[in-house]
Amino acid sequence: MTAILQVKDLKVHFQTDDGLVKAVDGVSFEIEAGKTLGIVGESGSGKSVTSLAIMGLHKGSRAAVSGEILIDGVDVNKVTEAEVNKLRGKSMAMIFQDSLAALHPFFKVGDQIAEAYQVHNKVSKKVAKQVAVDMLGRVGIPNPTQRMEDFPHQFSGGMRQRVMIAMSLSCNPKLLIADEPTTALDVTVQAQILDLLRDLQREFGSSILMITHDLGVVAEIADDVLLMYAGRAIERGTVRQLLKTPEHPYAWGLLTSIPKLTGAANAELLAIPGTPPSLINLPSGCSFSPRCSYKDRAKVDCESVIPELAGVKSNSSHLVSCHISETERVAIFKSEIALKL
């Protein structure tokens, strides 16, 4: 299998008046053709900043981006804005969380999609408009010919997100980056949009990079998951590995702190104590160590040495960055965590 996107040791740092903010600090991953990778993490974990770096959207800002971002053999990080622009549309496209803010309020949606298509394809306005009608129809908007003439505010939230998806897929990109595409939507509409993304992925064969904070959404749509905390990847594996046999104490904490629809109710949730660290003053060792309840089980000093992201013995595709030994982790998981999942 060939990787559509390869990210190696990506770092995005912002110089601010208060100090250097290490929003993303050494993240590596790849996505294979036709697969979906979910990046999961809480606010401030660096997941959106990572996706903006892939789209080359930090160019011209104060961000210092280093590392390699290879898409179609081109390193987004090394080429000029104009060259990244050529990649946008056909190689990669993005949908954003807030569709009302991402669409221009003064222009009809049909014109906006047609314009995006014309930027990347040398066609007449008439052809581009026909593409827009086709795309709106394919994302399930009824009466696409009439709805073309409507403005973004005339659509409901779910329908507007469909318009964004139509625009992003109009040039048939190899990689679709979806940054929290369903977070602003109600659950029944979210289910519709996730179904749509799945169907379109089958039809267009795109790879999807799904940025979300919702482990449920990841379970529904992703093949692989990358879990981020304070700008670093701390666990990576298939959906099943990460959700059924998580290895990192942060992943345990996340899974046990979510209330569930099935099972006993009103039991106390196992909340993770404390709050995420400041990205200016990251802890010197493992960034999760101040909140970790199991750090005394490690043989290495978690507070001074940063753990490597390394494969677990039983399955080398499952990577975790933790000092606690694998046998110890399995024992903790079996005795304390598994029952609560």
Partner: protein, 322 residues
């Protein structure tokens, strides 16, 4: 025993923004004939999607907005038609926690001032040292009492939500309306706040109306749950039977749409995909408001279904699930 709160046929119609001076007046039917009861120490969850009227219901009960018709009885006293001056005496007993911890705290006031304001307005215990009382409240909600002089921007989202909770507790209320108190928070922080609310409930014997869109959070927190759709309550049930066997087709569809973090649950679950959007609240469908999207709808659904007892649930449907 009189329930703490009894809401009967509560209705709120907002005048539509598109009303013309001489045209026919139109109304947004935000809440229509909503009835429920809440006992002391109990939590009633109000769930539904955006625009279903759950927040409006909360605001009607706290009298932040006046109701169009219907009654709200608090400890047997009708409050919906009370004047503000009469209601002031009851206000300390009904408090609210808001969704957005950024918008609901005045950025120019210190935390101490924010929490002390309700105490000052209602002149509670003038003899007691207000500062000491505020610091006790900060401690109860798990904040450092020394942070009394800090401003809201110095706190994280979860900590701000704790400040909002301390403010709601200041007057020792009996009923707290919590409007999406955890939906703006990350999951690890959300669990901390839910645990805090739960321990406060048992410590102070509080009753909650817990408004949320997240079914799993409501299941975790509430003993009884009312599901709302387009301004109506479609189902009320205790939390166990609602989730084990939803009776209203909408409840069933809503539950099947919730993504589960358990990969094994995905295949096992029956999926119902609703088509279309919620109806226009200016012109809601006659009869059952869900009939335009319901797969069971028949002619009879054009008449309004009464809320009837099916098993352990009250459900407003002509064809409830068995």
């Amino acid at each position: 025993m009189t329930p703490l709160l009894k809401v009967t046929d509560l209705t709120k119609h907002f005048p539509s923004k598109n009303n013309k001076i001489f045209g026919k007046r139109e109304f947004v039917h935000a809440v229509d004939n909503v009835s429920f009861e809440l006992n002391v120490g109990e939590t009633l969850g109000l769930v539904g999607e955006s625009g279903c009227g759950k927040s409006t219901t909360g605001r009607l009960i706290t009298k932040l907005i006046p109701s169009t018709s219907g009654s709200i009885e608090f400890e047997g006293r009708e409050i919906s038609k009370m004047k503000a001056s009469e209601f002031k005496e009851l206000r300390p007993q009904i408090q609210m926690i808001f969704q957005d911890p950024y918008a609901s705290l005045n950025p120019r006031h210190t935390v101490g001032t924010i929490i002390a304001t309700p105490l000052k307005i209602h002149g509670v215990n003038p003899g007691v040292d207000v500062k000491k009382q505020v610091q006790e409240l900060l401690e109860i909600v798990g904040l450092n009492p020394e942070h009394y002089n800090r401003y809201p921007h110095e706190f994280s989202g979860g900590q701000r939500q704790r400040i909002g909770i301390a403010r709601a507790l200041a007057l020792k209320p009996k009923l707290i309306i919590a409007d999406e108190p955890v939906s703006a928070l990350d999951v690890s922080i959300q669990a901390q706040i839910l645990n805090l609310l739960q321990s406060l409930q048992s410590d102070f014997n509080l009753s909650f109306i817990f408004i949320a869109h997240d079914l799993a959070v409501v299941k975790h927190f509430a003993q009884r749950v009312a599901v709302m759709y387009a301004g109506n309550i479609v189902e009320v049930s205790d939390q166990v039977s609602l989730y084990a066997s939803p009776k209203h087709p909408y409840t069933k569809a809503l539950m099947s749409a919730v993504p589960s973090a358990d990969p094994d649950a995905l295949g096992a679950r029956e999926r119902i995909r609703l088509s279309g959007d919620i109806p226009n609240p200016i012109n809601p469908p006659t009869g059952c408001r869900f009939r335009t999207r319901c797969w069971k709808a028949q002619e009879i659904c054009e008449t309004k279904p009464p809320l009837i007892q099916v098993g352990k649930s009250m459900v407003a449907c002509h064809f409830p699930e068995s």
